[in-house]
């Protein structure tokens, strides 16, 4: 057992800190302060992605052969800590954490060559087309159909919760190519080189937080080349599982939880309490803060076991689900305390002031500006990426089938 990062890593930490202190523009910092979702403000965050890429740091978790940093898990953790501490906008996950790693494992050489560079550089944004109106938790029941026709597939149907589809230039999706056999067996994984193929219609959906992040995409006889298929026809379900495998070893989210805890502490120290002094002096608030820190600490410890590949955790089939449930429910707890501290100042609806570069000044401070949208947005975390009900089923199944 050894918790020490080692002194040679201090030089690395300093190198990271120096860059993160100087490279982000004021606008990028503003985008970070105004991030209220997994999906940070789009244009500014993509610009920041390109800056990080120029430094070679856009994909800390990618292997060096694909343009990643080749960093050790300790280095990645340090990077994540320094990044979160400065509240910089997190890079959008779809390319770097989802379709990119999937292509590395299963893509054809020409697909890797064609698509990985744009993901790494931040020139491309990929939207994810999995869910459908009637296929959420029961994803394998999806019905958006692709019919082979010469060198093409012709797609008809609908996808929903395709995050930021109207900003995307590419899309990865699951389509039904067969109705034979088990429902999982007739699914194919497709890469769409464009999001403006004739017959594609994208509609943004306004969310509870007043922003347009959710979307739906309609396909009316959309003809796409077969060369976008990953894996074999009708083997898309297994292809998409490879993505889950990568997510297990994905990035740490506890540093950003600690950063939010620090924000809450600072805000509490600046807010008067109805019982005198500030909220930070208030024993009830102190208990809330203590409880939240204890929850974050337990999660952070679990996350460290995951990334250090501690055997009984790394090999446990329940680990991805435990991780997903813990991080999502923790994000919600963080957001609840944020709204409590922001109090009345969390109630104004400030959609304009939240935009990067907005001319509308917020009514309160930055913390009060984002507390409620962060709370509302985080209600989705227990729904998406396999609802927590489904994840609990998976944990139970792993427990009982050993």
């Amino acid at each position: 057992m050894n918790i020490d990062f080692g002194s040679e890593l201090e030089a690395f930490r300093q190198e990271v800190a120096d860059f993160l202190d100087t490279a982000p523009t004021p606008q990028i910092r503003e985008a970070g302060l105004k991030t209220t979702s997994v999906f940070a403000p789009f244009e500014t965050t993509m610009a920041w992605h390109r800056i990080l890429h120029a430094r070679g740091w856009s994909a800390p978790a990618w292997p060096r052969e694909y343009g990643g940093t080749g960093w050790s898990v300790e280095q990645r953790y340090i990077f994540s800590e320094e990044y979160s501490k400065r509240r910089l906008p997190p890079l959008l996950p779809n390319g770097l954490q989802m379709v990119g790693p999937l292509l590395m494992q299963l893509g054809m050489p020409e697909q890797k060559a064609r698509y990985l560079p744009g993901i790494l550089s931040g020139d491309d944004y990929w939207t994810q087309g999995y869910s459908e109106p009637n296929s959420g938790s029961d994803l394998a029941s999806l019905s958006c159909a692709a019919v082979a026709d010469g060198d093409d597939y012709v797609i008809n149907g609908q996808k929903i919760w395709t995050t930021l589809a109207y900003k995307a230039n590419r899309m990865f999706m699951l389509v039904r190519t067969s109705k034979e056999g088990r429902k999982q067996q007739g699914i194919t994984f497709l890469l769409l080189e464009r999001t403006d193929f004739p017959g594609m219609t994208i509609r943004p959906i306004t969310g509870l937080d007043g922003t347009q992040e959710l979307c739906e995409v309609f396909f009316d006889n959309v003809r796409v080349p077969k060369s976008g298929r990953v894996g074999e026809e009708n083997d898309g379900w297994n292809v998409s599982k490879a993505l889950l495998k990568f997510e297990r070893g994905g990035s740490a989210s506890s540093p950003s939880m600690y950063a939010k805890l620090a924000m809450i502490r600072a805000a509490a120290a600046a807010t008067p309490s109805p019982h005198g002094g500030t909220l930070a002096d208030d024993p009830v608030m102190q208990r809330d803060l203590g409880e939240l820190e204890a929850e974050i600490a337990a999660f952070a410890a679990f996350e460290k076991l995951i990334i250090s590949r501690y055997p009984s955790v790394a090999n446990d089939p329940a680990t991805p689900s435990i991780n997903k449930i813990s991080s999502s429910e923790l994000a919600q707890r963080v957001s609840v305390l944020m709204t409590k501290v922001a109090g009345l100042q969390a109630l104004p609806l400030q959609v304009d002031a939240r935009k990067v570069g907005s001319a509308t000044a917020p009514l309160g401070n930055d913390f009060e500006l984002i507390a409620m949208p962060y709370y509302l947005n985080s209600r989705a975390t227990t729904i998406y990426a396999g609802s927590n009900e489904i994840q609990r089923d998976l944990i139970a199944r792993a427990l009982f089938t050993r």
């Binding site: 029961d138 109090g343 409620m372 989705a380 009900e389």
Partner: protein, 367 residues
């Protein structure tokens, strides 16, 4: 013991329910919320004809002297239909604070409020929320030719549309209520929309000069508390009405939404969540009716209202958050009413003392 509404109250609920079902369906409500108007004139006039605007005021003031249970009877429906009319802001808060003054000019203004012609707002909450007089930062001081008001008020409901503000301020160690024209020099009103579709404002007073006639009451703490208690009772009823709507919508959705070939209510995880929502709603409504009966009998006080407000907020949050979860992705959209109910419950939880504040009041002293 009888906790049922009277036949008159049932009749009132029936006609209000019909009006709201016809004029305040969710789509019509959303359309109205997107306008800049503070009240839907046709609905507001109907409220007047039904006696709702006169309800809380004494007959001597042109009111009809309604009871606590009258208020709860309509409050549940206001919550159920997500009504954004300025009922709480102009009638239960602003109008009721105004009614504490006997002065002729104030009584004349009150008659206009009850007639539905003008709105008044109460500016009371500050950065620390509410609390004892000594914590108030808004101050009223005597100056040579009158009074001077300074300070900042948050979440002044209806503050951007009110022709008159009733403002609480600390004068020496007492809570005074003053009447302020928002157009007066030194008054800055920053209006905004709340997450639950209401109009509110931050109002700053800098050296605002008032004549002696602007002072409504110079020792108003107890009487203002009574006004707030009645508003909190109605807000609690609104939250309970919202909870009922959420429970019904979620149970209905879970019975029709199919995944894995069966309705999702056949999954125990979902069914038990719905059962917990039902438990929460049942307890909240029971406490609402019981507290109302206590107040009606003259046996309830600040402590009972604090307990109700805290408990309804806690249980309401459970129901609201569960409703979003049961609905899944579609529950995260602005296009469905679910999130709007949750946001209403969250707003009610935050205003006039959050759950911690009220639970501490309850916990600090036995009844």
């Amino acid at each position: 013991m009888d906790f049922t509404y009277t036949s008159e109250q049932e009749m009132l609920r029936d006609s209000l329910g019909k009006l709201l079902a016809q004029a305040y369906g969710f789509d019509a409500r959303q359309k109205f919320v997107r306008s800049s108007d503070s009240r839907c004139e046709a609905v507001w006039r109907q409220f007047g004809q039904m006696g709702l605007l006169a309800l809380p005021f004494a007959e001597s003031q042109g009111g009809i002297g309604g009871s606590f249970s009258d208020l709860v009877a309509i409050g549940e429906l206001l919550g159920r239909y997500l009504v954004v009319e300025p009922y709480v802001s102009s009638i239960l808060l602003g109008g009721s604070a105004l009614s504490l003054s006997d002065a002729t000019a104030d009584q004349a203004l009150l008659r206009d409020v009850v007639a539905g012609d003008v709105e008044v707002a109460l500016a009371h909450e500050e950065a620390h929320g509410i609390g004892p007089v000594e914590r108030m930062t808004c101050t009223l001081r005597a100056v040579d030719d009158g009074l001077r008001l300074d300070g900042t008020k948050l979440l002044v409901l209806g503050g951007g549309h009110a022709g008159t503000l009733i403002v609480s301020a600390r004068q020496a160690d007492r809570l005074a209520l003053v009447r302020v024209d928002p157009a007066q020099p030194g008054v800055t009103v920053t209006g905004y929309r709340t997450i639950d579709g209401r109009h509110a404002a931050t109002v700053r007073f800098e050296g605002v000069r008032l004549s002696a006639a602007g002072l409504l009451l110079d020792d108003a703490e107890d009487r203002l508390d009574a006004v707030l208690r009645r508003a909190l009772l109605c807000l609690s009823a609104e939250a309970v009405g919202a909870m009922q709507a959420l429970l019904e919508a979620s149970a209905g959705y879970a019975a029709t939404r199919k995944q894995f070939g069966v309705p999702i209510n056949s999954f125990q995880a979902v069914a038990h969540r719905l059962a917990d929502m039902k438990i929460a709603y049942s307890k909240a409504r029971a406490l609402l009716l019981y507290t109302t009966a206590l107040l009606e009998a003259g046996e309830g006080g600040a402590r009972d209202v604090s307990l109700l407000k805290a408990q309804v907020s806690r249980l309401g949050r459970i129901v609201g958050e569960s409703a979003v979860q049961v609905h899944g992705g579609i529950g995260m959209t602005d296009e469905l009413s679910i999130g709007h109910y949750l946001k209403r419950i969250l707003s009610i939880e935050s205003m006039f003392g959050n759950t911690d504040y009220h639970l501490r009041r309850v916990g600090a002293a036995a009844s």
